[in-house]
């Protein structure tokens, strides 16, 4: 498959250059070619010095410590042994220089995503790159972290490093980049000096037309669906304590919070993957802590997991078999093809081929499959955990619209997201979560951005 075709991009030392485009437009492939991880069939990459790359999907060795990852293959040695003290010192110095605080001795697998990304970034910075490629660097960061991240990047650029940011977040492109290149279908379709263009204009160039609007919110008659009282739960790296809230049929409840504040434990408890204490009532019936995931599915509780690659999809399988996953007991074999066609059409999965291997699809198209099959399964309650993570505007708007349509049709939606814009766009009510506890509740009419941001940061 040809992912990129005849692309020319020129980075200048000292600039932050944004590369934007739809899912599968070839951004990540281009970055990989520039880094040297993928061979170009034609053309060449010329760089004056070391090229660094920070991946969207981190390439860290989970079992190793931070300093071991940062200095991998470049460990300071004393004869045959690694000089651990010097290594720790070097990582600390690096962290201080760029304002990326980490604990050098922490084991990577215990760290939240945001910190892992810092480790990934530090690893590249240690090589003192003259060109730094960042693939969706802010996908996992909280609003306040995003600002400080770009402060760091800006400082780096000021020292003469050329920086290419591959992203779909146009607000960040406008706010932080000096130039922008727009790609579509493997080709460059526009180049701008950022100050001479606008987010809307870039969005239109990416999509190749008008950006689709979010689905309209209908008025719905809500009814009690999920009641949660004093819920506490714990999953691998996440703890939730004493949560009390309700989700009504026909409404979207948004859970706003920074990653790593108990959202995973909440989603897992509802999915039936981890046990809980407290009281959960669904349609008036108590849910038991030892219920299997299958019994939750039978009741109509469906969770869109955060990590689609591991928790939702079988990457080696085709689209059709993945669409069936979770409904394999209710659909007859003869219905598989129809179920796949339905999701492919409603969610505009590209390529529209039920036999395509899911692992080869772009993240956005993978997510469309997960969301599509979840909504097609006659769910009563949909728990959507980061449903638009790492996917571009077109796909995100599509996913959000489908969630809103489900709400309009009487489905209860619990939307857990780290992106405030998404929550404000979709939710009827907003709950703020911080440090594993619920910190505040807002109706759509009374949303106070500043107050919510403060609560998310743990300031009461």
């Amino acid at each position: 498959m040809q992912a990129v075709d005849g692309v020319d991009i020129e980075l200048q030392s000292g600039e932050i250059h944004a590369l934007v485009g739809e899912n599968g437009a070839g951004k990540s492939t281009l970055a990989a070619i520039a880094y040297g991880a993928v061979k170009a069939d034609e053309g060449s990459v010329v760089a004056g010095g070391v090229v660094g790359l920070v991946h969207q999907h981190f390439k860290l060795i989970e079992r190793l410590r931070v300093w071991e990852n940062v200095l991998l293959n470049r460990e300071p040695r004393r004869g045959w042994v690694i000089d651990v003290a010097a290594a720790r010192e070097r990582v600390n110095r690096l962290a201080a220089t760029y304002g990326l605080a980490v604990d050098p001795d922490a084991v990577v697998e215990t760290l939240p995503v945001g910190i892992k990304q810092r480790v990934e970034l530090l690893r590249e910075l240690d090589r003192e790159p003259t060109v730094l490629l960042l693939d969706e660097p802010t996908a996992a960061l909280a609003p306040s972290e995003i600002a400080s991240f770009f402060t760091t990047i800006g400082a780096l650029a000021a020292r003469g490093t050329a920086i290419l940011v591959v992203t779909h977040k146009l607000a960040e492109v406008i706010a932080y980049s000096q130039r922008v290149t727009v790609m579509r279908a493997g080709r460059v379709v526009a180049r701008h000096v950022t100050s001479e263009t606008s987010a809307d204009a870039i969005a239109r160039e990416m999509v190749g037309g008008e950006v689709p609007a979010l689905a309209a919110r209908g008025s719905t008659a809500t009814a009690p669906l999920l009641e949660v009282r004093g819920l506490s739960a714990r999953s691998a790296t996440s703890t939730l304590e004493d949560a009390t809230f309700e989700v009504r049929a026909g409404e979207i409840v948004g859970i706003a919070g920074i990653e790593g504040n108990g959202q995973t434990a909440l989603a897992d408890a509802l999915a039936g993957v981890v046990p809980f204490t407290g009281e959960l009532r669904f349609e008036g019936d108590a849910l038991r802590p030892d219920d299997s995931p299958a019994s939750r599915l039978r009741r109509g509780i469906r969770v869109i997991p955060q990590d689609r690659r591991h928790e939702a999809l079988v990457l080696g399988w085709n689209v059709r078999d993945n669409v069936v996953l979770g409904r394999q007991r209710t659909l007859a074999r003869s219905q598989y093809a129809e179920a796949a066609r339905e999701v492919i059409e409603r969610f505009d999965v590209r390529p529209p081929d039920p036999e395509a291997t899911v692992g080869a699809l772009s993240g956005g198209n993978q997510q469309k499959i997960v969301v599509g099959r979840t909504l097609a399964a006659h769910a009563k309650l949909v728990v959507a955990y980061q449903p638009t993570r790492g996917i571009d505007i077109g796909a995100a708007v599509l996913v959000q619209s489908r969630l809103i349509e489900a709400r309009n049709a009487g489905v209860g939606v619990l939307l857990i997201s780290f992106e405030l814009d998404e929550i404000f766009a979709c939710a009827d009510r907003v709950l703020v979560i911080a440090n594993g506890r619920f910190a505040g509740s807002f109706d759509r009419a009374t949303i106070d951005r500043g107050r919510i941001g403060a609560l998310m940061a743990g300031n009461v």
């Binding site: 390439k59 999915a271 993957v273 299997s292 995931p293 299958a294 939750r296 599915l297 039978r298 969770v303 997991p305 591991h310 928790e311 939702a312 999809l313 079988v314 990457l315 080696g316 399988w317 078999d321 069936v324 996953l325 979770g326 394999q328 007991r329 074999r333």
Partner: protein, 340 residues
């Protein structure tokens, strides 16, 4: 894990061919034999006459059952290296029951085969239960259960359930009614071969076309996603290991009923271990495994002829088999490192 064990069938076959002929040639040269003579004798011994071809198919059959067992466990993400023990216990149950309870033919053969299937299944189920209930590593459990199986069968056959005598660790002979009928006259090839082929096709159908097969593959390919899709991983592990053991046990029963006509503690020259290689070369796909079993059957039966005819030590076959496994495993490891 099963994704790790599966590769591209075609390329794997190419690797195996290169290893077998390349290293086989080197080993033959070290034994001062021309590779042309050596491999000539091997293929002549495997296909040369009708009875030699029949013997090759006997070996194919004996490998096919445990290889299918290994494959179904691997498709569920489990590594069953206890197929040899399951095969031996299956053979024991078949031999003991077949000799102990004479029944008319139309009942005797099914009873003998079922006895082996159940015994092997029960043995696999132990590891499956330990995995499902306590999360015990099935590799260690099945490995250890191999020893227990051999010792248990030896004890039973020499002790409380002794039927034989004459010093060999074996049961009494099976009555004619309990012996699988010959497929080719004057050979040891029986209807077991046909049963094995049917089982392979059924297994493929089960894996590809049934909800059970779907859930089993999901559990193996993406356990976390499978769990969240309502698939009970513990139950799947238990059923897969039971089925895996049952297939190996059925294999043992066919060796007893078709080849030896009695159980002997030495009935397996390590079929359950070679089966791991067969399953890997067959890409864990039942139909490819039929092909792989035949290829290994050729090596097994041709290897003896090669020794008798070209004076190449038969260990050359063991050597190249081992090297082929290492090469395949190496490819998988490299592939998995590249993909992460």
């Amino acid at each position: 894990m099963s994704a790790l064990l599966r590769g591209r069938a075609f390329r794997d076959v190419a690797v195996v061919i290169v290893v077998v002929f390349g290293f086989g040639s080197i080993a033959m040269l070290l034994a001062h034999v021309s590779p042309l003579d050596g491999f000539g004798a091997l293929f002549d011994g495997a296909f040369g006459t009708r009875s030699e071809l029949a013997e090759t198919l006997v070996q194919t059959t004996s490998l096919l059952f445990p290889a299918l067992g290994v494959a179904i466990a691997a498709r569920a993400g489990l590594f069953n290296i206890g197929a040899d023990g399951q095969l031996i216990l299956g053979g024991f149950a078949a031999g003991w029951i077949g000799a102990q309870f004479p029944l008319p033919g139309y009942l005797a053969i099914p009873m003998v085969l079922l006895a082996g299937t159940f015994a092997g299944g029960a043995w696999g189920a132990i590891a499956g239960f330990l995995r499902a209930r306590f999360g015990a590593n099935e590799v260690i459990a099945t490995l250890m259960l191999n020893y227990v199986a051999v010792l248990l069968a030896t004890y039973l056959v020499n002790g409380p359930l002794q039927q034989g005598g004459a010093g060999a660790s074996e049961t009494a002979g099976l009555p004619k009614a309990a012996q699988l009928p010959d497929l080719i006259a004057d050979s040891r090839l029986t209807w077991a071969f046909v049963i094995a082929l049917v089982v392979a096709f059924v297994l493929r159908w089960v894996l590809q076309r049934t909800v059970f097969g779907y859930e089993l593959r999901a559990a193996g390919d993406a356990p976390e996603a499978a769990k969240r899709a309502g698939i009970d991983l513990g139950r799947t592990a238990f059923v897969a290991m039971t089925l895996s053991g049952a297939l190996a046990g059925l294999g043992g029963a066919t060796i007893v009923s078709g080849v030896l006509h009695r159980f002997n503690t030495g009935l397996s020259p390590g079929y359950g271990f070679i089966a791991i290689a067969v399953a890997l070369v067959g890409n864990l796909d039942p139909l490819w495994i039929v092909v792989a079993s035949f290829a290994f059957g050729v090596l097994q039966s041709g290897g003896v002829a090669m020794q008798a005819e070209a004076l190449v030590p038969r260990d050359v076959v063991t050597l190249v088999t081992g090297l082929a496994i290492i090469a395949l495993a190496g490819r998988r490891v490299v592939a998995s490192l590249r993909s992460t």
